[in-house]
């Protein structure tokens, strides 16, 4: 049920993203796919439709991220590991998910042996669906450098504790 809230929140967040965030170039370049599709579709007359298609892809990928994350957090929850925050850096080319955990969880061998096997399995499974997703884990008690996260492109936060989106 909680994941439905996250999916809903992320859909609203994607809808509010300006076009230049959706088309944000990676390392100064747009992906080959984006350039090729733009060329193929022609110029002004198709521009609107093209932007709409890209936004839909962006949303579809965001939903896939939520689905991938859900697979991971379900297994963690079954094993009684507690997650606090979901912080996302999302683009058409790749997505980074940062999850915060209880203090000490990151060096707990039971956590390590489960989560990195599962994250690798999910990463491969979703790569076959065109999603390049990576998961990172940090203790909730660590003092996060929010400015650095923001400058790296993390711009969506969801609290599992409060069950709501929060501003980074």
């Amino acid at each position: 049920m909680e994941i439905d809230i996250l999916k809903e929140s992320i859909t609203e967040w994607v809808a509010a993203q300006p076009d230049d965030m959706v088309f944000e170039p990676k390392d100064g370049f747009y992906s080959f796919t984006i350039v090729a599709e733009a060329y193929q579709k022609g110029m002004e007359d198709e521009r609107k439709r093209f932007i709409e298609e890209m936004r839909l892809k962006y949303l579809d990928k965001a939903k896939l991220v939520v689905s991938a994350t859900n697979e991971l957090i379900k297994g963690l929850s079954d094993r009684k590991f507690v997650l606090h925050k979901f912080i996302l850096n999302h683009s058409l080319s790749n997505s980074l998910v940062l999850l915060t955990t209880d203090e000490g969880t990151n060096v707990d061998d039971a956590f390590i042996s489960y989560v990195f096997n599962e994250a690798a399995r999910i990463k491969f499974e979703y790569s076959q669906k065109g999603l390049n997703v990576s998961f990172m884990f940090i203790d909730e008690q660590s003092k996060l450098n929010i400015e650095l996260l923001k400058s790296d492109g993390f711009d969506f936060g969801y609290s599992f504790d409060d069950k709501k989106v929060f501003d980074l």
């Binding site: 096997n117 990463k123 491969f124 790569s127 390049n132 660590s142």
Partner: protein, 127 residues
Amino acid sequence: MKLDHARHNRDACDSFIQLGNYNDWVITTAFYSAIHFIDHKLFPLIDYRGRSVSDIGQFSKMEGVSKHEARILIISLRLPSQNTNFGFLYNQCLTARYINYHVSLETAEKAREKLRLIEEECTNADD
């Protein structure tokens, strides 16, 4: 060559442990030692699509992802026993900057242990 580099970085990791107070460098050198042990063990290979792959750079281009991401993928397919050890090291390296490099001693010691396990499996046929 890769083994030399792996061992060089491993020795640097041990030096940082002995110096103390450089836990961020312990995890960094452990990770950069691990990647060379892993590459030594895995390459060259025939990948899951039947392609001949000489090194991680080529595999990363074929998959259209970074070398680090490509390595995670190939480990999960060809050396899954190291998913957890390598995943732990990669995670610590990725996240250290977001916690202003305040890496605990426990994390540093765990990183060194994970590197030992990676080295053991990746070199057991060589020695």
